[in-house]
Each structure stands twice: as structure tokens, then as C-alpha cells.
Symmetry: C2
Subunit: 356 residues, 2 copies
């Protein structure tokens, strides 16, 4: 057991040293989240953890028919407020885990739900959240099979936290993963960027825009099925949630060892999102999405996948936004309108706390 | 979708009416927890939920070899303090979910871990919790395969909450479930009762006893394997956590439609637990255990199962404590030393809040 560090006499490793306590940025899905996993959780877990410990795992299970594998994923949701334009913490909890499963090419089957409720929360609010969970599960075709409820004293919680875990089956022959992007591949996005984050922020900050912005929360496994139905060898699928398109593409670039070049004018960013980001000082590429996917596909199949996406209601705004290049490996850059380029960094911490 | 109630104009059903907001008792694992599930969560989930929505689910999975099934379970842990005599929230999080899987006869394989951390929590404390998770997983032979970390602002959380979900395989032919108890069956417990709850309470309240009481937190799947190895048709297995032996036996009596009669003098309650319960005004039968199991087995196999338990280090204190009877169906009673009987009620709310 000597491989687990002793945290009683522990010295913070360098990347964590400036913040010996938890700060909001550790939950942002960016560089600080990555450091916490790599420098603290993985060493502490030692030999008991899989080396990647990612958003979802694709697992061998004894007795499963040859070639098929089990997908398994979990997420906790702490979004505030619980109800926001276009959805609630209940929708996110179902769609978020369904999407993590779908991004490995799995057909989602079963979900667990676990609640941490604060003393004093109205039962009617919990009922509204649970109804949203039920409707989202029904709509995604997954069954809610097991659960748990804990209560913490008022002052120790914040209304409702929801955790979901999910199980799906990855069919034989489907191999999708963040390490598979290759130089020459094309990067697609299934629609408008930044909508969920701005919907939550606008209601939290009381901002008014010309058009009401609603969260894009949706279950994407149907879209994924259509996209895999093209027969194109899809390399990577990911839903750009916390940390946005920027965090997700940086992770793919690092995992695959390629550079990624975006074309700024091709990014589908709605004017309301652009305006709100200008007002709040945010980069739309770092804003969370809850109903969009990024796909990396071979160049000769890109048009076919794009057409399949656009035929699906959740992919009608799909666009080609960039490509994988040999230059600047492990980095993401954007070609600006002026013919220059800028680096699209992995976000450090959290620009929009508690967005999911 | 008309089957989901509308909580905007919702009227509390009778059993919840006295408490239109969440109270600590809703998290106690007793009658109030049951009402919340039956009167609020299940109606809200509608057709998306399995009718039982229990501690763990045994599931058909397409492609799984005939007869084998998947076990799936989840629990969130909010115990306070995070570290207590004999363990920590990290040990509970692994052993609790491993045990829920084991109680369906499954071999546990994979766990997810999801943390909700409060801003300001020391990284060294999180490291100690994560190390406990790693060591417990290693010791139980399960792999930590996927995870999530969220951060909430200080004041909205309480250090560390941990959720685990787990997957296991139930071999063909194993059928264990709370509805299978039959009149004539014998009730066994694997060892001393009430130890975990009193260990946590004693450190929370600063109580001193002659002997230091340590939590019994342990993974029980090895004990279950030995017990199933006897070939006896084990009907029900359950770990009596929140709500204690009392809540668990009441649930089994109700699910199976039998009465259960305990013999009070046969209950293995250590003197320290008796003393502490006297002092705190608690019933040892309602105190949480985290490393014990209750087994309902046919009378003619009881001795064999008891011997198998006693040969295992985690079952050395195993005892026969009662039987299933035709009288008083769906009720649990205890025969007292004086020749009388008393009703062992399902606990209403929570006598020891945040015990797991």
C-alpha cells in the first residue's frame, strides 16, 4: 500500500502550491481541475484507479458478448439557481450523464439518481426537480433504476445537489476516444456555442437581452446514433460543458498530440451570446454548453457527417469549425478575421462558477 | 407525459403534509425517507422509474451471457466529521456501495467517485479522504474508473461530500431479494450491532467510554461469497446501515409479507454500545452499521451458513437472532428477557443525523 501518499505530512506539489485549500477554480473543468486530478486524486488513489479516470469509462465486463463493452459515467450537479431559462438542475443531471455515455458511442440504458437535500428546502421544489429528472429520462429512453437521498442541516448545503451515474453499451466495432484525432482530421460542432452558460448567467445576474436566451440542455445520443450511422470512422466525440469548446479541444489536442486550428469566423456564436460575453468579459469559447457536441472526423467523411448532423433537430446548426494540424502540437489556435492567429488556451480556473 | 404531477400547483399528500419542507428525518432511512420516495420521487419520476427504486438494482443487459445480470447501486455520503474512530467518509463511500452490490449477490467490479468540495477545504484533508478511497477500493478489489469534482462556495457546502456508484455481476442462478423471506426462515446477523453509529456519535459529542469504539466499516462481498459457497438457498441479504437492524428488518417483513420475531437476549450488542445508547437515549437496533449484514435463510441451512460466516474474519461474531413467523405479518417484534414481547418499529425519522 506504500504507493498511496501520506497526507498527514503532505507537501503540496508545485502546481497546487499557490492554493493549499480548495478554490472555485478547482471545479471549473480547466487547468486547475486537471491539476487536482493529476496531482492529488490519482496519486491518492494509487493502483486502485484507472490511469485516465475520465468523464466516462469503457469497460470490459466478464460475460458480455465479444466486442461489446460497458460504458459507465457519473456527474454531480450543483448549478445555481436550480431553475433557469430552458431547464433545471434535473434536466442537466439526466442529459449530462446520458451525453457522457453517448460521447463514447454507447447506447445509454440505466441511470442512478442521488440527492443531497438541505433541511428547509420546499418539497414542491424537490418535486419540480424530480419531475424534470423523470421527463428527461423518459425523453432520453433511459430508466431510473436505483437511488439515494441524504439530508444535510440548513447551512451545510444549498437546496438540492443531484448526482447521476449511468450505464450504457458500446457496440462491437465502435472505438471513439480523445487520443484518436489525426493530422488532417476536421473538427465539427453540432450547433450554437455558449448558450447554456449565458442562459444561467443572465438569470443569475438579472441581465436582459433583446431575445430571451434558453439553455440548450438536451440528450445527444440520438444525434450520435445518426452520426455513427454514416459509417464514417468518427475519431473523437465530446460535449463541451464546463470550460467550453476551449477546454474540450485543448484536451483532445493534448491527448492526441495534434495541433488544432479553428477558423474564428466559422464559429456559430449567436449574437446574444456575443453581446453577453462582451458585457461580462467572457470568451464564448470558454462558456459551458449542455446540448452540443464536438466531433473530430476524417476529412473525406466530414461532409457526410455534417449532413447527417444537420438532418437531426439537435444538429440543425452544425458547422465545420477547424482542423487538426501538424504545427503547434498539443495547442489550439484560432485564425482571426484579420488573417492573424491567437492561442485558444485551456481555461485556468472557473469564469462561471456553478454553471452545471 | 401526463403521468408526472405538476408541482407548481402541488398539494402535499397526507404523509408529507406536516412537513412541507425537508427536515433531517427525510434522510434517516426510516419511515419518513420511505414516504419521500413513495409520495414524491416515484410519482414525479412517472414511467421513467423502476417500481422499486431500491438500494441497488439487478438489471438485464443486452449481450450479457444468459442468466448473468448487472448489479448497479449508488450512495452519497455526508457523514460528519469526515474522519472518525475506525475510518473516514472515504472508507464509507467505497464499502457502502460495495456492500449494496454484494447484498444482491453480485461480485463488485467498478466504482465511480464524485466529489462536491467546499471552497476553503484543505487539500491535505481531501488527499486523506481520497487515499482512504484508494486503499478501500484496493482492499475490496474494485477499480475506480470514472469520476467528477464540483466545487461550491464556502457556506454552500460542508468540506467534502462523496458519491460513489458501483457495478457488479450477479452470477446465473443467484436470486437474492427482500421479497423472498418465508415463514420458518431464520434471521442471522454477521456480528456486533450498533458500532458505527456509536463510534461517530462518541467522537462528535466528545463522549469517553472505557473502551474506544471504532467504526465497523468493511467491504462484505468476501463474506457473502463464502456464505453463498455453502449452496444454501439464501433468501435475503441486507446491510443494516441508516435506520439500523430495525429499519432493515421492517423493510424485509413488509416486502415479503411475513412477521419477524427477534429474541432480545440473542442480539450481539457490545456493552459499550449498550452504555452509549443508554446515555444518548438511543435504541441499539436503530443505530447504523457499516460492516455487518443480515441474512434470511431457510431453517435447515441456517447452521451451515452460520458456520461459514464464523469462519470469515468479518463474521466471527455471527449470531442467530430471530425467525420469520406467520403471526403479525409485516411487523417485527422482539421477545424480551421477561417473556414478553415488544414491537420493533420502523424508525420514523433520524435519531443520528449525518451518520453516513
Amino acid at each position: 500500500m506504500g504507493e498511496h501518499p501520506d497526507f498527514d505530512g503532505w507537501v503540496c506539489p508545485a502546481p497546487l502550491r499557490d492554493t493549499p485549500t480548495i478554490v472555485m477554480g478547482h471545479g471549473g473543468g480547466g487547468a486547475m481541475s486537471g491539476e487536482l486530478i493529476e496531482q492529488l486524486f490519482l496519486p491518492a488513489y494509487g493502483g486502485a484507479a484507472r490511469a485516465d479516470l475520465g468523464d466516462s469509462a469503457v469497460l470490459a465486463v466478464p460475460g458480455l458478448r465479444e466486442g461489446a463493452r460497458l460504458a459507465f459515467s457519473t456527474d454531480s450537479f450543483v448549478v445555481r439557481p436550480m431553475f433557469f431559462p430552458g431547464g433545471s438542475i434535473g434536466d442537466l443531471a439526466v442529459n449530462g450523464t446520458v451525453n457522457d455515455l453517448a460521447m463514447s458511442g454507447a447506447t445509454p440504458l440505466y441511470l442512478s439518481t442521488a440527492y443531497i437535500l438541505s433541511e428547509g428546502t420546499a418539497l414542491a421544489d424537490i418535486g419540480r426537480v424530480a419531475t424534470a429528472v423523470g421527463k428527461a429520462a423518459e425523453s432520453a429512453g433511459v430508466q431510473l433504476v436505483t437511488g439515494d437521498t441524504k439530508v444535510v442541516d440548513s447551512g451545510s448545503g444549498d437546496g438540492v445537489y443531484v448526482n447521476t451515474a449511468g450505464i450504457g453499451i458500446v457496440p462491437a466495432g465502435v472505438e471513439i476516444g480523445p487520443t484518436r484525432a489525426e493530422v488532417g482530421d476536421v473538427v465539427l460542432v453540432s450547433g450554437d456555442i455558449g448558450v447554456h452558460g449565458i442562459a444561467v448567467m443572465s438569470c443569475r445576474e438579472g441581465l436582459e437581452f433583446g431575445t430571451r436566451i434558453e439553455s440548450d440542455t438536451a440528450a445527444l445520443h440520438g444525434l450520435v446514433a445518426d452520426l455513427l450511422g454514416t459509417g464514417v470512422d468518427v475519431r473523437v466525440l465530446r460535449d463541451p460543458t464546463r470550460g467550453g469548446v476551449s477546454a474540450t479541444l485543448n484536451e483532445i489536442a493534448r491527448a492526441s498530440g495534434v495541433g488544432i486550428e479553428l477558423v474564428e469566423r466559422d464559429l456559430p456564436i449567436p449574437p446574444e451570446v456575443k453581446d453577453a460575453c462582451g458585457l461580462l468579459g467572457l470568451d464564448p469559447l470558454q462558456v459551458a454548453n449542455e446540448g452540443k457536441l464536438l466531433a473530430v472526423v476524417p476529412a473525406d467523411g466530414a461532409e457526410q457527417v455534417l449532413e447527417a448532423m444537420r438532418r437531426h433537430p439537435l444538429g440543425s446548426g452544425a458547422a465545420r469549425i477547424g482542423r487538426c494540424v501538424a504545427e503547434h502540437p498539443r495547442m489550439v489556435v484560432a485564425r482571426t478575421g484579420l488573417g492573424g492567429t491567437r492561442v485558444v488556451d485551456l481555461p485556468i480556473g472557473e469564469q462561471l462558477p456553478r454553471i452545471c
